[in-house]
Symmetry: C2
Subunit: 463 residues, 2 copies
């Protein structure tokens, strides 16, 4: 037997320390290093909890319910109204922000800048200095968008007078909300708050919002999933690439806008504004995803991840079966491409509610459908396909309504199972814009990041 | 030596009759059948002519000139006017059609139907029967669109009163033209000619054309190559898939339309018509390609293919160095997907000037950028990429302005060299709609076909 072993070519699979495999390779032998880590980052307590949750019939049943509610959602873009009218229980002097809860003093630069802008926009202070004093003085209520069914990109600030998109999930009846996209450059969501930013916000409240609302009423609402499905066939992944979806929405809205009684001059500016903003659909995509995921939230025992969101300091995760709890870890940095003149040292940590798109199975999860996005976030089209393929390992299933042409029209991975994340150690991939760490500078790049595993481990530990 | 040969594993490459290779394989040996055919379909005369043209310094120099003129073209969409005003030397009582020259009696069903429609539209006859008599009686002049710098999809009929797009190649100064896309269903280009078809044509002449012209004058023209470049990053190949390009054009035209003095009711119908037609850009894409290729036409000695066009009976090819000559072969049938209720027995042979897109390096040549198109024309996204890769073997170079994301942003193959087609036996791939063989039924499917090799062999024989 031993002789036979020495006659044959050596074939070794090594688990654990890779130096064993390497020493065989150095002597000309073949060895394969198994890519394996113990689940739950080796934490025995969480590992035990995970073992109890895997194949637990109650968890499986809860997940089927949550996943089905999530997938059967039919989000309709209903209209636009001021946040104070649209969002139930939004108190006055309340300012919503992206990510998990955070107090003023700990907010990152862009979020503080956006808050100051929102205070000026509301007329609660007459200049940035007194706005800052007001914010620091405790006279305002800060809360996550997610606590009010809302989502916002980057700092995600929503104040009571701002217009918000209203999305209704026709299937489950739940509502979701998002602010309107301001375009690129000096914009509130990156913390800019000068006169040009405030003027644009005033115009959005006075003209753009009511125009959108009139067009949507004219149309009786716009079903959002078909637009996303079509955009996925046109090279969008509907997080950082919304060129097709924005165009498709523009084509839907324009004829309806012409049937409203909007003055022709307003009409022209509204259409130019939308036509000039390839990210116009982003906030709507986010509200659509939020409406889908909220339908699957709150199912006792379910390990469906229903929110991933970042406030620029912490990354937070919510899970269906753990209700209002947030499981947080420090927000990661984003690896990517920087605009000319900027470098990683300029970047704020990962920021914004836009990871709701990945949570719902688009964005980074559907990157394989959007090869052109790598010119923006880095990598190759093959990387983009590989990210999508990897995400099938941590999702409960697929969304048959969202198919991906470059993957032979496979349905997109959809519905993150926190158990699978902890078990495999595969962290959800997120493609995202990168904000400058200082208020008001704006976007400095875009790239790829991963949700911190610690968030999912805590979620399982508390399940 | 012989012993050594028998000891080793047998490795055979076989050229010619495949049965030699197969008999080795049957006995368990390894053999590779070389995929090789003699050039020029084995015709010695053409083969000799080809041998003289390959590496001929004069041909090489001519091709460099032609290819450079083709690639440096900057087609601008200038406006819309009636064909009689826009197209130089278009006589009255002249009807243009797709493909190489053909007399009335030999025209296919859809083309005869479209001619009858055009005669009724012009008011030259009062009913289809007398229109047919007029056409058959010799009182009209029929000529290829290509003879007047024009192109038209399917039957490609252009009559003097019809509005046509006017494209100017800013680099070379040449003009090209195309009719306006009517949408799908019962339309003239498929041979329909009833009242609804004629009414739509009247409206296009009276309202749509002038509106487009006004918007384009407002914009000072629209550069077309950037739109195609962007659409190639959004899953179009700009022949059978123009969803993105049509949307991008719509976004450009709409704000400009609002600045014209068009009545709001006309404006609404114009915008609804364009928004509802994902093929609206097709005719413009074709005129853009025609403008690019005409710039490279007429260079003595050049083997650059400057037109591929089909009249439903014959497939015709023109080459830069052979001037006005057409090299024709019977139009092939199209293999593809048929709409419900239709089968290959319903199909007309390959029809239309739209293969000008492939001639210019988009359409089938850029299919790799448009994975979603296979749901329309058949095959898989991998097939689409393989078609594009194959076409690099028969083109003079690439178009750096048109990059293809799924192929790692490789530049699209561009500029067919008739020598390479004859030498390799690789026929240009064309993706195309399939017309019903009877007039007026419309589109019955879409698929893939190949330009007949015989056309290119004749071109080389006459070079």
């Amino acid at each position: 037997m031993v002789n036979k072993l020495f006659e044959q070519e050596l074939q070794v699979i090594n688990v654990g320390l890779s130096s064993f495999a390497e020493s065989i390779q150095q002597t000309g032998g073949k060895s394969l290093q198994l890519d394996w880590r113990p689940p739950a980052s080796g934490d025995r307590g969480i590992g035990m909890k995970l073992a109890l949750r895997v194949n637990d019939p109650q968890v499986e049943a809860a997940n089927r319910t949550a996943h089905e509610r999530f997938l059967s959602a039919q989000p309709i873009l209903m209209g636009v109204d001021a946040a104070r009218n649209a969002i139930p229980n939004l108190g006055e002097r309340t300012l919503l922000h992206a990510g998990p809860p955070i107090e003023w003093s700990r907010m990152c630069g862009p979020m503080q800048g956006a808050m100051i802008g929102a205070i000026l926009y509301e007329g609660w202070a007459k200049d940035p200095e007194s706005a800052r004093d007001l914010a620091a003085g405790g006279g305002l209520h800060f809360a996550p968008c997610h606590h009010f069914g809302a989502v916002g990109p980057m700092s995600g600030v929503i104040s009571p007078s701002m217009p918000v998109w209203i999305v209704k999930n026709q299937d489950h009846g739940n509502l979701s909300f998002s602010n309107l996209n301001e375009g690129l450059g000096k914009v509130l969501r990156f913390g800019a708050n000068d006169a040009s930013v405030l003027e644009r916000l005033q115009w959005m409240g006075a003209v753009l919002g009511p125009a959108m609302n009139a067009a949507l009423r004219q149309l009786g609402g716009v079903e959002l999933r078909p637009i996303i499905a079509q955009a996925l066939h046109m090279g969008d992944e509907c997080h950082n690439r919304n060129a097709a979806a924005s165009s498709l929405l523009f084509k839907r809205l324009t004829p309806a806008l012409l049937k409203t009684d909007l003055p022709q001059s307003d009409l022209a500016r509204v259409l130019e504004f939308i036509a000039g903003n390839d990210h116009f659909f982003l906030n709507i995509s986010m509200a659509c995803c939020k409406a889908m995921l909220d339908a699957g939230h709150g199912v006792a025992g379910s390990t469906l991840v229903t929110a991933m969101a970042r406030n620029g300091v912490e990354f937070g995760v919510r899970m269906s079966g753990t209700g209002d709890a947030w499981f947080t870890a420090p927000a990661p940095m984003v690896a990517g491409l920087f605009f000319p003149g900027y470098s990683p040292s300029d970047a704020a940590p990962d920021l914004g509610d836009s990871a709701i798109t990945e949570t719902a199975g688009i964005g980074g999860f559907a990157m394989g459908a959007a090869p052109a996005i790598v010119q923006f976030v880095g990598g190759t089209p093959q990387d983009a396909i590989a990210y999508t393929r990897e995400m099938y390992h941590i999702t409960m299933g697929v969304n048959g309504g969202f198919t991906l042409p470059p993957l032979n029209f496979d349905a997109a991975p959809a519905g993150i199972d926190a158990r699978k994340v902890v078990d495999t150690g595969i962290a959800p991939v997120i493609n995202t814009g990168i904000a400058h760490k200082d208020a008001g500078v704006g976007q400095v790049g875009a790239g790829i990041t991963r949700a911190p595993l610690a968030c999912f481990e805590q979620a399982i530990a508390n399940s």
